[in-house]
Amino acid sequence: MSVPLVYISYIVSALFAFGIFVGLPKQGRFPRRGAFIVVMAVASAMLIYLLQLLFGAESRNITFCILAVLGLAAAIRVVTHPLPVYSALYFVFVVLATAAMLIQVGAEFLGAALVIVYAGAILVTYVFVIMLSQQSPEMKGRISAMLDYDRSAREPVWATLACFMLMAVLAGMIVEHPWKTVAQPLSAVATRNTVELGRLLMTDFAVSVELAAVLLMVALVGAVAIARKRLPQAADFSDHKAPGEAGKTVVPY
């Protein structure tokens, strides 16, 4: 039973890889729209079939499915959109959809933390970098207004291959793994799951928390060391003048 499922998951991955490859920007346009839509539709249908086989009635949770589809569609747009700013915004959308799914399965803290950390902090920095690197195009849809490196994807074949090999391996693992099923819903196990999470982090996973803290500290020190400019400190304000003095010593023109 499990062997065909693995092959189905490989086929789904290959289809998605082909769809993404077709959809990657070439010459500043979204090429072969029809082919892209057809391949994606077939791949999605197969994915839904696979999920049906795997989880049965569980996979018919409507809100979860809608969120998953929205998140996946946004994720595809992240890699296929020619403008980096839009890609970053679609990434925000992916993060929000994922957070909503986490909240739906009862991991409220994780969902909120995902939004704060990814959407709130990292992606803002990302948007920052993009803004500094380019200005928005003068006219939409005109290829000449686009920057060289935005017009077409570099190495689309190898990029999609590498990503979807990983994807296929992971999907195969997920399909084959004998998952344990929980007898009762998560919300019944822990009514205040933030409290439980905090207790776990401070007892069972204390070492990981400490390691993360040390890593952050090292990053902070490193950032300060890189950003610091060595200047003769004492001379900084030697030529400082008192208020009222400033204009008096200026050499007349």
């Binding site: 909120a112 704060i116 803002v124 920052f128 803004m131 928005s136 200047l231 003769p232 304000f237 030529d239």
Partner: protein
């Protein structure tokens, strides 16, 4: 009378509106039992409350703008708006009509999609924060069975404060996208300033929220309010934390003295330079809604939420009763406190001059963050050792004094002079 509309049309319109209102009342009367059942259900009540609050907050925002203009006039010894309606009370209506009727210009050089999206994002994100605020505690309708209560709150979730922080951290996107999509240097500079400022002040803001979480030992806002019932308000335990939270919230809202994102002298109008009419108004509404939401959070965390101080007559009934009238009284108390906060916001805006950019940054990173860390550490120690909570008051005072003495000891003259790094490196000065 509005020009261009003749008397006959106005009479017809008036009769139509009256008839419509009457029909609505009749419908309400016919379906009163179904309506009562709906209102007694938490989900539908939350829905009604969300819609009602939207209306209340929109009206409040309109009148906040009038209040702002009146306060600025008072500070600057002028009259302020006093032509539309008695005492200028209909001014918000006139402003609204003007902003809706104005031509909505989208310049040709902008990125159209994001240009349209940005103001809506700014407005919606500042709006959704109010869902977790406890507006009036628990109550029951007279027709509900004894012992059952409803929560006067749109969503009572376990991670309320994290939700507020998450929504607040998304607030940068409206400003950044507006600046970028405008394709204009000044708008871009404004957006850059705003995003750097909001990211920096998010850190002390989150720390002070953490202090409040630790003090009430819950992430629910209603628990934070319940903690303050029958004891001191958290403000009395943590005055410094409340002050830092207030200042950080001021900076998060991009209000003076932290309004570098729209410094007129330097940047024309910053990130909303290219916006006009209703899109510009969306940014404006977003700013005032953000003020209301952040004031509500601050009041709930540090100033007793919807509670009346215990020494006032009738405070016991207002704070404890599940009567519907007591609920409305509590709502009134909360709105009054929010009103006081907003008046303070406005007084600050019209009193203090704007910060310089490096001063703004050093205030956040060199003053608020270290102090905030110390306060968090102190509160953790108090909880861990089971010390009485009033130790934190002493701790706050000590931290404030220590910070002041330290900064006085290492003080440098503040100058506007920029040291040229290039010349210094070459030894040219």
């Amino acid at each position: 009378m509005i020009r261009g509309v003749n008397k006959q049309q106005m009479v017809v319109g008036g009769i139509g509106a009256t008839l419509g209102g009457f029909a609505a009342l009749v419908l309400l009367f016919i379906f009163r039992s179904q309506l009562a059942d709906l209102l007694a259900d938490q989900f539908y009540f939350s829905l009604f409350l969300a819609l009602g609050l939207f209306g209340i907050i929109m009206t409040a925002v309109a009148y906040c703008i009038l209040l702002e203009r009146k306060i600025s006039a008072w500070v600057q010894d002028r009259y302020g708006p006093n032509r539309v309606g008695p005492l200028g009370l209909l001014q918000p209506l006139a402003d609204g009509i003007k902003l809706f009727m104005k031509e909505d210009i989208i310049p040709r050089h902008v990125d159209k999609g994001l240009f349209v999206l940005a103001p809506f994002l700014a407005f919606v994100i500042s709006m959704i924060g109010y869902a977790v605020i406890p507006w009036g505690g628990e109550f029951r309708w007279p027709w509900m069975p004894e012992g059952e209560t409803l929560k006067c709150q749109v969503a009572s979730i376990d991670i309320a404060l994290l939700y507020i922080l998450a929504v607040g951290s998304m607030g940068v996107y409206g400003v950044v996208l507006a600046g970028w999509a405008s394709n204009n240097k000044y708008a871009m500079y404004g957006a850059m300033r705003a995003s750097a400022q909001m990211l920096s002040y998010e850190v002390p803001l989150a720390m002070m929220v953490l202090v409040a979480i630790l003090t009430s030992q819950s992430m629910r806002l209603e628990d934070a309010v319940a903690f303050q019932a029958g004891s001191w308000w958290t403000f009395a335990y943590h005055p410094l934390a409340a002050l830092i939270l207030f200042i950080a919230a001021l900076a998060e809202a991009n209000r003076a003295p932290f309004d570098l994102a729209e410094a007129e002298q330097e940047l024309i109008a910053g990130f909303h330079t290219e916006y006009s009419a209703i899109k510009w108004a969306m940014f404006f509404l977003g700013e005032y809604t953000h003020m209301i939401t952040s004031s509500a959070v601050m009041v709930s965390l540090f100033f007793g939420g919807y509670l009346l101080p215990d020494f006032l007559p009738g405070a016991h009934w207002v704070n404890e009763s599940t009567n519907i009238l007591a609920m409305f009284a509590r709502m009134g108390v909360l709105f009054a406190k929010i009103g006081i906060f907003i008046a303070v916001y406005m007084m600050v805006r019209w009193t203090l001059p704007r910060f310089r950019y490096d001063q703004l940054m050093s205030l956040a990173w060199k003053a608020f963050v270290p102090m905030g860390m110390l306060i968090v550490l102190m509160q953790v120690l108090i909880i861990y050792n089971d010390w009485p909570q009033w130790y934190s008051l002493i701790g706050n005072i000590v931290i404030l004094l220590a910070g002041g003495l330290f900064s006085a000891a290492v003080a440098k003259p503040i100058t506007g002079r920029q040291v040229s790094l290039l010349k210094r490196e070459r030894g040219m000065t």
